[in-house]
């Protein structure tokens, strides 16, 4: 598990790195940010930035990671960074990438780093516009399945059944009554070259996908499961355990969609019982047997759909069709 410290051998370190200790100078996302103890998204930022290196511009949407990292006069970012509003990061990123291009810079990568609220909901229109324009932007969504910064409200990424402060548990309604948005498939449907679903707890897979997405000329998209202890209701110390269990219990999948072609990176053939991961989280404490059964059915259905799209279903194995030539030149 090589955390691939940012490649910056030999360059001068004017102000970019001034830390109080060797450890505090190591990463492109510095310590001292005010994320909660055990914050999943904070770790995603460190892994993503270190993998991408210094030659990037980060465009951020309002959200937990923006508020905790840029409280004037301090910032945790050691790379060029811009934040404007909650719903316009993809548009801002398009602007930055076109400006760099206009000035003859074709190497600096523009990277949007946004939460699920801005990605699935308020900024979704701007995201779709950016994808259709084919702007050269790498979009990373740290997905903690809720609006954390404003105190745990529901987002389009909140799973079925989960209690949040806007899918409250009462005598008539009990938690979220709709499924998550399949954001990766929706983004892939725009016909872009690379989309991937990763997890904070599978570092090698995550960093590999960051590298592949970075290599794409044009839009690429990563959604990264990054559990939020405060919002999902568990102690910060087990954030990575919850993330691993999400994958092992078919609640989160590791896969890639390259030019529309699905590739499963991890096949949870015999999944862990749902109760193990659901039981760790306060947001699921109220679930009725019926709701748990619904989640189980949904998890298995998603799994089988993914197997089918990746051509791994038993029935497909006998006559898997040859690789179809790409229709859209990329």
């Amino acid at each position: 598990m090589d955390n691939n410290r940012a490649a910056q051998s030999g360059d001068e370190r004017i102000g970019m790195w001034d830390g109080m200790s060797k450890q505090s100078e190591m990463h492109l996302f510095a310590p001292g940010h005010s994320g909660c103890p055990g914050c999943g998204p904070s770790n995603v930022l460190i892994q993503v930035c270190d993998t991408l290196g210094k030659d990037i511009v980060v465009v951020q949407a309002t959200g937990c990671m923006e508020i905790t990292s840029t409280q004037y006069p301090q910032t945790a970012w050691r790379v060029p960074y811009i934040h404007s509003l909650f719903q316009n990061a993809p548009a801002v990123a398009s602007g930055v990438s076109r400006a760099l291009k206009a000035q003859g810079n074709d190497h600096t990568k523009v990277v949007v780093i946004a939460g699920d609220g801005s990605t699935y909901d308020i900024g979704f229109g701007a995201l779709s516009g950016m994808l259709e324009r084919g702007d050269d932007v790498l979009y990373v969504c740290y997905d903690n399945q809720l609006y954390a910064n404003t105190g745990v409200q529901k987002s389009g990424a909140t799973p079925y059944g989960a209690a949040t402060t806007t899918t409250t548990v009462g005598s008539v309604h009990r938690g979220k009554e709709t499924e998550r948005k399949p954001i990766a498939e929706i983004v892939a449907a725009h016909g872009i070259a690379y989309v991937a679903s990763a997890s904070v707890a599978y570092s090698a897979d995550l960093q590999n996908k960051v590298r592949k997405a970075n290599a794409v000329k044009g839009p690429s998209f990563l959604v990264v499961d990054s559990p939020c202890c405060l919002g999902q209701g568990f102690d910060g110390g087990i954030t990575m355990k919850v993330a691993k269990l999400n994958v092992m219990s078919r609640l989160w999948f590791l896969y890639e969609i390259e030019n529309g072609k699905f590739k499963l990176n991890f096949n949870p053939a015999n999944p862990k019982p749902l109760q193990e991961v659901l039981g760790l989280q306060k947001r699921f404490r109220h679930l009725s047997p019926g709701q748990i059964e619904h989640i189980q059915k949904q998890a298995d259905a998603s799994y089988n759909a993914l197997l089918e799209k990746a051509g791994l279903l038993e029935s497909q194995k006998s006559f898997s069709s040859p690789e179809k030539p790409l229709n859209t030149p990329k």
């Binding site: 508020i67 719903q87 699935y120 409200q153 402060t165 806007t166 409250t168 009462g170 008539v172 309604h173």
Partner: protein, 383 residues
Amino acid sequence: MIKTVEGARVLAEAAVACRLDVVACYPITPTTHLTEELNQFYADGRIPEYLTVEAEFSAISALIGASAAGARTFTTTGGQGLLYMHEPLFSAAGMRLPIVMLVGNRAVSSPLNIWNDEQDTISQRDTGWIQIYCRNNQEAVDSIPQAFYVAEKILLPVMVCVDGHYLTHAVEQVDVPDEKLVQGFLPPYKYPLKLDPQNPVSLGVYANPTHYQTFREDVVADMEAAKEILVEAGKKWGKLTGREYGLINAYKVKDADRVLLSVGSVMDNVVMVVDELREKGEKVGALHLRVLRPFPREEIAKALEGKKVGVIDRDLSIGAQAPIYLEIAEALNGKGAQVSSFYGGLGGRGVKRVHIRELFEKLRKGPVKQWITTEPPKAAMKG
């Protein structure tokens, strides 16, 4: 009954007592607790429909549809959220839809700031929405049923504006009107041209130059007519609760030579200082501008003729004089009054009693135009 409760949470009770049909909310500080409390009422079946929209732009858009279809509608937002409603705010007023919204006043970006001032609602004063400002949570709770009463009678949407943090997050004693009292005050909602297959009218039409301005003239005329209905609602509410409301609230102004005027919770602090200074024999007064739209020009002129008036703007019109000051100065034109403009208290600095004492002093000389609550800024700004 009197409760010790947080502003944002008790406002949900006041709204639900009006028997809402459709609520659509997007969470934003400082009104998240109200958004959450409304959802709890929905989860317990007290509100039939609650949309968790993906953005404030869609909150108002959803309520435009619901209101036109005959539902009584309510939402809440603040700061950036209100700014993201800017376009549909005009549309809702132009379509004469009586939507009621509770705005938790908050500073506007950039820089980003979640604390209190009134830049957000002041920047939306031209949208055609009636604007009621509240000095404290009692006035806020009392103003929601009155907002529906006025909106549904004159068919114009209403913003009830409540200072974020200082009021939305203040836990204090509030006499919460129960549903029976509110139902006695508020007639059921009947939108005359409801979207109805039995009467398939088209709403939100396209008007060419011949007709467009006629509609705008009608909105302007009805906004003026709303003054009477606001006073009517305030009187009717007074009979039921003992707390009467009007367009303005003049406290010890009649014989005052110096008066401070503003909107929102700062006026409670001014009232406390007025009491202090009156004990020392100083003839000072406080005038709360409860209704900013429609702007009560005549009432202001009558109340402040010949006095030294200080207008506190916790908002800005960048490149011009402070917005509320400008309107007050115009209303007092030729009335022998001396109007000063004090602006500041932005982004959570607030205007505290220590500042208010200074402002009353400055009014002795006047008229002046200056910042208030200026900390030693330049040093802090170096960054």
